[in-house]
């Protein structure tokens, strides 16, 4: 039953993925705008954005739901990946900027006439992509190494990750970093020789995001099935036992942390060309918190949950920020509280929760569940009827 259900999940995901990466772009490209089946360019861009958010959500869940590490700074790695892509896109503007100089506008504005040395190699797409993996990976590696080696856990780990992303946010706001200050990068023109504003280009980016999400999903699915995945969940449930079984938990946590950072970065890389802007605001602590809400709404500790959560919450956000712009944050907070209190397993856990409720209320009159389970009577007989004087369990003595 359990394994059948799990296989079912994979098939549903594959079917949805096929629909997303084939059907939606086809409907966008091949149907006339007046058609009932037409998918607008706007929809493609918005859903492309959600696909990237879903990857970010998976990376949060891999840490929080599977390893018990609540990272409140995952958007940092997302944004860093985005910046690496952004630097490449800025170089591709060439001299088409406002000042018609061969260097990005904001550098002209800051009084630069030549491209700073560290900007030079970003004209190369492969270089930018390698950096998009190296930089967040290295940052996660160094931070994780120090944090896990010092046995920083629980809420302290969360606070540190939050502080890290806030510090990075303040750093990127500075013009002297030569990464665009508070405006960040925008006004992109070309990606890999294609006009970035063309619907066809956006369609390809959408397909790439869909495939990337599918790849991330399958990779994580595999990872959680390996022994490493079992150790990962064991760390979540009883880290002491894992350490006292000979595993260096710090190494395992470091591996997962870096892996999750790479997923977040990949999401950021695909996000930037679709939304057309990246700035330090994406690193602000509240962005990471939002990702945590997506995961808890969708259902943490599952891989399908974060995807559902990212889509559901962001679709709601798109609607609410238009309908009630001032109330969105209250809405988001309220939703988080509601889910935490009443739906601890999120949307994914809802069917099981409803089934339990159904069993408790609807079937009660039928008398199926009122009788105490057999085991209780059995235990009672064993414990009290056989040896009435010795039946009660001894209380646990206090730890010495």
């Amino acid at each position: 039953m359990q394994s059948k259900f799990k296989n079912l999940e994979i098939w549903v995901v594959m079917a949805v993925a096929l629909f997303v990466v084939v059907a939606l772009p086809c409907l966008n490209a091949c149907t006339p705008e007046s058609s009932w089946f037409h998918v607008s360019n706007f929809t493609i861009t918005v859903y492309g954005k959600y696909l990237c958010y879903a990857m970010l959500a998976i990376s949060v869940d891999l840490l929080w739901g599977y390893t018990g590490l609540l990272s409140l700074g995952q958007a940092l790695f997302f944004t860093l990946g985005g910046y690496m892509m952004g630097m490449y896109l800025m170089r591709m503007i060439g001299d088409l900027g406002q000042y018609h100089q061969p260097i990005p506008d904001f550098l002209v504005f800051l009084g630069w006439t030549k491209l700073p040395a560290f900007w030079q190699p970003f004209s190369s797409f492969p270089f930018a992509m390698v950096m998009a993996m190296l930089l967040p990976g290295a940052l996660a590696g160094i931070f994780g190494y120090l944090a896990f080696r010092s046995r920083i856990r629980g809420v302290y780990f969360s606070i540190l990750t939050q502080a890290l992303t806030y510090a990075a946010c303040l750093l990127f706001f500075r013009n002297s970093l030569l990464l665009g200050g508070n405006n960040g990068f925008t006004d992109f023109k070309f990606i890999l020789g294609h006009d970035i504003r063309e619907p066809a280009t956006q369609r390809y980016l959408f397909i790439a995001s869909g495939l990337a999400l599918l790849l991330v999903y399958l990779l994580c699915k595999w990872l959680t099935k390996t022994k490493l995945g079992k150790v990962q969940r064991a760390i979540r449930d009883s880290e002491n036992r894992v350490m006292f079984s000979g595993y260096s938990t710090a190494n395992f946590k470091l591996f997962i942390f870096v892996f999750a950072a790479l997923i977040a970065s990949l999401a950021g890389v695909l996000y930037v060309p679709q939304v057309g802007i990246i700035n330090p605001g994406e690193m602000a602590p509240d962005k990471s918190l939002e990702a945590v809400v997506w995961v808890s709404v969708g259902g943490r500790g599952t891989l399908i949950g974060p995807i559902i959560g990212a889509f559901a919450v962001n679709a709601m956000k798109s609607w609410a920020t238009r309908a009630y712009p001032d109330l969105w944050l209250i809405f988001l907070g309220g939703m988080f509280i509601f889910v935490t209190v009443f739906m601890p397993k999120g949307i994914v856990g809802l069917p099981a929760q409803l089934r339990m409720l159904w069993n408790r209320f609807a079937r009660k009159p039928a008398g199926e569940t009122i009788a105490p389970p057999e085991s209780v009577t059995e235990v009672f007989n064993q414990e009290f009827k056989k040896s009435p004087t010795q039946g009660t369990p001894k209380p646990t003595p206090p730890e010495s």
Binding site: L223, T226, K227, L228, K230, V231, R233, A234, R236, D237, S238, N240, R241, V242, M243, F244, S245, G246, Y247, S248, T249, N251, F252, F255, Q382, E383, S387, Q390, G391, T392, P393, K394, P395, T396, P397, P398, E399, S400
Partner: protein, 254 residues
């Protein structure tokens, strides 16, 4: 006290540990033979758990020698390293992986490589399955192999944790109050389980419950204020005036 030239499986000599001015361990000397089943008793705060922490590398002693087998200095190693030497520890409160099945709990504990990349590619071999079968039989949980560990009763969780130690085939087992919270019947079964391991492994059992101590004890060490008060058989220890004063006078069961 001069140590004999004999080879001990575990040796603690002149160990001291102070927490914020409180001397938890005070010039502790402790020697254990290979294959021995040793019981440690002592009132609350006698330093029993701190002693376990020092042996397993969770706490570093301020001074003193802690050696395992042939000149392996434990004071310089961390928790996983010491465990990999073959020292298993069972905690007082059962700590098992509640969202894993009983089988998986044992699988993760089996002796073998512990690296990250090994874990990424490791497959379960038939030898491992056989080994797990044996352990399941020893702890009497064969029928529960596919159940989630979280669904086990308190006593079964305790046995599972002992099984997890056995899966590693450790040279030395440290068992902290295995009978805590158990019914008398479960306690008795636990005692039998520990006795059946005697000789194959060296075992240290910490216990409060004197009925249980009587069942399993060969040689008993009494700790008091971080120091060994006396050692001997249960009867010797129970008749010792100093022990009566500090411990049994208060704790003796009706």
């Amino acid at each position: 006290m001069t140590p004999p030239i004999k080879q001990f499986v575990l040796l603690l000599e002149g160990v001291n540990k102070t927490f914020d001015g409180f001397k938890a361990i005070n010039d502790l000397n402790f020697y254990m033979d290979e294959g021995e089943l040793r019981t440690i008793i002592g009132p609350n705060g006698a330093g029993k758990s701190t002693m376990m922490d020092i042996i397993t590398g969770r706490t570093r002693p301020d001074t003193g020698k802690v050696e395992f087998g042939k000149d392996t200095d434990l004071t310089r190693m961390n928790v996983p390293e010491i465990n990999r030497l073959g020292i298993g520890r069972k905690f007082q409160t059962p700590s098992v992986y509640i969202h894993h099945t009983v089988f998986e709990n044992l699988l993760l504990s089996l002796k073998g490589p512990r690296g990250v990349f090994n874990a990424l590619l490791a497959l379960t071999t038939s030898e491992q399955r056989d080994r797990i079968e044996v352990v399941l039989k020893t702890i009497g949980l064969t029928k529960k192999a596919e159940d989630l560990a979280g669904s086990l009763s308190h006593g079964q969780k305790q046995w599972l944790e002992i099984g997890m130690l056995l899966a590693q085939d450790p040279k030395l087992l440290l068992v902290d109050e295995p009978a805590a919270g158990m019914t008398d019947e479960e306690t008795h079964k636990t005692g039998e389980l520990l006795l059946s391991l005697e000789g194959k492994h060296s075992i240290i059992v910490i216990e409060h419950d004197m009925t249980f101590v009587r069942q399993i004890a060969r040689k008993v060490t009494v700790l008091h204020q971080g120091h060994v008060l006396c050692e001997g058989s249960v009867d010797d220890v129970q008749n010792d005036e100093r022990v009566k004063e500090v411990y049994l006078g208060r704790k003796k069961k009706n």
